[in-house]
């Protein structure tokens, strides 16, 4: 099932993440073991609309739109642009958090594991 939502640049990143996570079964198990958390992203786009994506790296290893059935371990509020910057690899989670671009509810330590997951998104090379 597609996790595409029109009007969000983050949408194609979530689609990629969904594939990247479930792509390889052994890798998926490894990621789940390492991260072991459910992330809920509340993404606000330039029009001020909000959309939730849930990334389950605890049991299912899935990405879905909207809230998941289980309670998230961490809820991250951020803008569409910030998410794209995070995925493009140059803004890291720590910098974003320090700059107040991420609002975190729940277990803050889990946010540190976000960079590793986002690193699976391919980047342009000089």
């Amino acid at each position: 099932m597609s996790v595409k939502v029109d009007g969000y640049k983050s949408s194609s990143i979530f689609e990629q993440l969904k594939v990247n996570i479930s792509d390889n079964e052994a890798k998926k198990k490894e990621t789940i073991k390492k991260v072991n958390a459910i992330f809920e992203f509340n993404v606000k786009n330039n029009e001020g609309k909000e959309q939730i994506w849930t990334m389950d790296l605890k049991k299912g290893g899935t990405v879905q739109t909207g809230k998941g059935s289980a309670k998230p371990d961490i809820i991250i509020n951020l803008t569409d642009d910030t998410f794209v910057e995070l995925a493009s690899g140059k803004l890291n989670g720590q910098k974003a958090f320090m700059a107040g671009k991420l609002k975190i509810k729940g277990n803050m330590m889990l946010a540190t594991k976000l960079d590793g997951v986002l690193a699976t998104i391919p980047k342009a090379k000089l």
């Binding site: 595409k4 990143i13 990629q16 140059k90 540190t112 960079d115 391919p122 342009a124």
Partner: protein, 534 residues
């Protein structure tokens, strides 16, 4: 016209009359002086030709009164009035100038008050030649002073909530005339240590963060041995059964392939043969590295470029390419150090006049050096495009994409046909969230060099990120097909994981698991030609 309206005409009584505006200022100022210096009985000035209105001497009304008086006079007396009033006001002020002077009695009183205070506090005599603390013998400070000092001057302590007062009381710092600086530093260090403990939670947080974040290279690990880092990439792995080993002059053959737009994989083989024949040729390693980088085989590129720099530490092109490759691999700190080496090799004067300062962030130090180099040759006349490229890489590394774009564009102005630069511009645009502009730049690069695998890969990534999966797949397939050499039909030992992996995921996003399985099993990309154009 303007002058006329200043003093005459119907406007003279309105706010737009500039002369009366000045007058207003003037009288305002005076009234302020009066408020503070003149006692209330003297407020109504007898020498003023303004009439004092009864009952309006209160301070609140003074301003308004002044204003109205002046406006009234201005209206009554026409153009001459302001001038007259002005003179009068001026005279008036001189009349009162003695108010500024202190009467002799007052003066005496003030003098006395001053000495009285002095006698009372004795602070200066105590300080200068007090019996208790002769300057030459200050060896100890009383504990109260110590504590007061801590409280009032040691601001760092304010953060230490768990501050142990008792401990500090006992520990009387011996304020020795000569070593006070050291002592102060010691005390401060201690305070910092305590701060550190307090920040335990934050520290833990950052620890976890840095551990979980493999891509992130600490920017300030000055003491990190570069050798350790280099060994992580290891030695260059050569292709077995390289036909170019039998070639008479493989280096020349490689150069020919590069210039004539031949396959990068073929050229890489030729350069490999060249360095296998003589591994002391820095330029052969450099070309091998550059070719592998363009061929989207970053690790092989880094290994070759490290070798090129090892053989000849002043190989400028190799140093610049190595810095770029390090940046791509997320080894930002290594990249900055490599750029610094480049600058020292090319601009020794700038490097010498700027002795490395310790404790300064590597990125800002190197950026500063490059900015100086850029300033030494103004744009247009002998501008060094490589300095701009270096700056571009530095700004890219720190995420200042706008500046990086400017640098690459400036460099492109003198090197319009540099396909590497077009690709670098494209990558910077892509990572700053401008994929459409990036695609344009990639196309420029590919027009100049159709075999440029990296630009094609980047193009695929941009298409992927804007959700154009089919186009992405076509570009990636095209890139991958160029890795095949005519002789063995596969992409050899130095494979490009990034290409295959990205393509695999692109197929999955298209919900074409069948194609993904094919690519994963390493099948020939030519079998995709039926469905995709590349």
């Amino acid at each position: 016209m303007a002058f006329q309206s200043m003093i005459t005409g119907a406007e003279c009584s309105t706010g737009s009359n500039s002369m009366s505006q000045i007058m207003k200022q003037f009288t305002d100022d005076r009234s302020l002086q009066k408020d503070t210096l003149i006692s209330s009985s003297e407020r109504i000035d007898p020498s003023s030709f303004r009439t004092a209105r009864p009952g309006t001497s209160s301070q609140e009304n003074k301003l308004a009164e002044d204003f109205f008086n002046q406006q009234e006079h201005a209206r009554l007396q026409g153009p001459i009035a302001p001038y007259q009033e002005w003179t009068a006001e001026f005279k008036n002020i001189s009349d009162h100038s003695q108010l500024w002077k202190l009467g002799s009695a007052e003066e005496a009183e003030m003098e006395e008050a001053f000495t009285r205070m002095n006698v009372h506090s004795k602070w200066n005599s105590e300080f200068l030649h007090g019996p208790d603390f002769p300057v030459s013998q200050i060896t100890e400070m009383p504990p109260e002073f110590e504590e007061a000092f801590q409280k009032n001057f040691d601001w760092a302590n304010e953060y230490v909530l768990k501050h142990d007062k008792g401990k500090n009381k006992e520990k009387i710092v011996e304020l020795d005339y000569h070593s006070w600086e050291e002592q102060f530093a010691a005390v401060q260090h201690e305070v910092e240590n305590e701060n550190f403990k307090l920040d335990n939670d934050l520290q833990l947080f950052e620890d976890v963060w840095s551990k979980s974040n493999f891509r992130e290279q600490s920017d300030d690990d000055e003491h990190l041995d570069p050798k350790v880092w280099e060994s992580e990439f290891g030695d260059y792995i050569f292709e077995p059964n390289n036909p170019y080993l039998k070639h008479a002059n493989p280096f020349q053959e490689g150069m020919r392939l590069m210039e004539e737009g031949g396959s990068l994989s073929e050229a890489a083989l030729a350069f490999e043969a060249a360095v296998q024949k003589d591994e002391k040729i820095s330029d052969a390693w450099m070309w091998l590295g550059n070719t592998q980088a363009q061929n989207e085989k970053e690790e092989a590129a880094i290994r070759a470029l490290q070798k090129a720099v090892e053989v000849n530490g002043n190989n400028l092109t190799a140093l610049m390419s190595l810095a770029v490759s390090y940046t791509n691999e997320g080894c930002d700190h290594q990249a900055y150090l490599t750029l610094e080496r480049w600058l020292i090799a090319k601009y020794p004067n700038i490097a010498i006049s700027n002795a490395p300062m310790h404790g300064v962030n590597t990125h800002s130090r190197v950026t500063d050096l490059f900015l100086q180099a850029a300033r030494s040759a103004p744009e247009g006349q002998g501008m060094d495009p490589d300095v701009q490229v270096g700056l571009g890489v530095l700004f890219y590394g720190s995420g200042e994409y706008e500046k990086a774009v400017d640098c690459f564009v400036t460099a492109l102005n003198t090197r319009k046909d540099d396909y590497l630069l077009w690709n670098r511009l494209g990558a910077t645009l892509a990572n700053s969230g401008r994929p459409e502009d990036a695609i344009e730049a990639y196309h420029k690069a590919l027009d100049l060099k159709p075999t440029f695998v990296r630009a094609r890969y980047n193009l695929g990534v941009s298409c992927l990120n804007i959700g154009c999966y089919r186009e992405a797949a076509e570009h990636l397939l095209g890139a991958l097909s160029m890795h095949q050499t005519g002789l063995n039909g596969d992409s050899g030992v130095n494979t490009s994981n990034s290409l295959r992996e990205t393509l695999n995921r692109t197929f999955l996003m298209m919900e074409r698991k069948d194609l993904a399985d094919k690519i994963r099993s390493g099948s020939d990309v030519n079998q995709f030609r039926e469905e995709f154009e590349f």
